[in-house]
Amino acid sequence: MRDKEMTFREKTHWVAMVVLTLVFGWFFIHSHTALPRGPEHLAASGGLLMFSTIGIIIAMSIIIGFIAARNPQDAHLAADERERSIHWRGTHYAYYPAVIGMWLCIWLIFSGYDRVTLLYSLLGVVVLCELVRIGSQLWLYRREA
């Protein structure tokens, strides 16, 4: 896969996919293995989530800024019809896990699960939807490349 075969947007999608997987992978593993159990777990999870979110924003800004600086002409190009179509289709595919995930979370609420379980379930749904969206968009980019 040559660098020149990808548009700026496809490169940013690869960055988002890798950063999301690494940061949220670390978040879920770390919060289950290293955070204190008991009532303080929820607050600690919240802090870790904030730390992870800021980490994602900083990491993506630096990497995407670096990619844009290497090829500013590409970075300033507006998305064309093919890229917009890929974006819409990817977002559409992510709708299905979002709906299933929301119903699962509603079921958890009515089943009396605690707030920590609900927090991780909601976060899991959000991350899964993002991965489906970005993953399907990357698949569409590669299929048409």
């Binding site: 990808m6 548009t7 496809e10 064309d80 019809e81 093919r82 299929r143 048409e144 490349a145």
Partner: protein
Amino acid sequence: MALPFTNAIRTLRFLTGEMTQAELGERVGVTRQTIAAIEQGKYSPSLEVAFRIALVFGKPLDAVFIWQEPPAP
């Protein structure tokens, strides 16, 4: 899924002084990658982009995009 039409973009680019995909993309208003996808038959462009490509080469639409499936009975 294969598209029901082919195109003569590669030939027309050659005939217009080996115009690059990037140059054609710039004149049409799409990325080089989109021109490559159209040329390889992997992406079906909108009617507007198809007309813009034909206009760049100064050809009618059906000289650039050639329908291949037989007409419905």
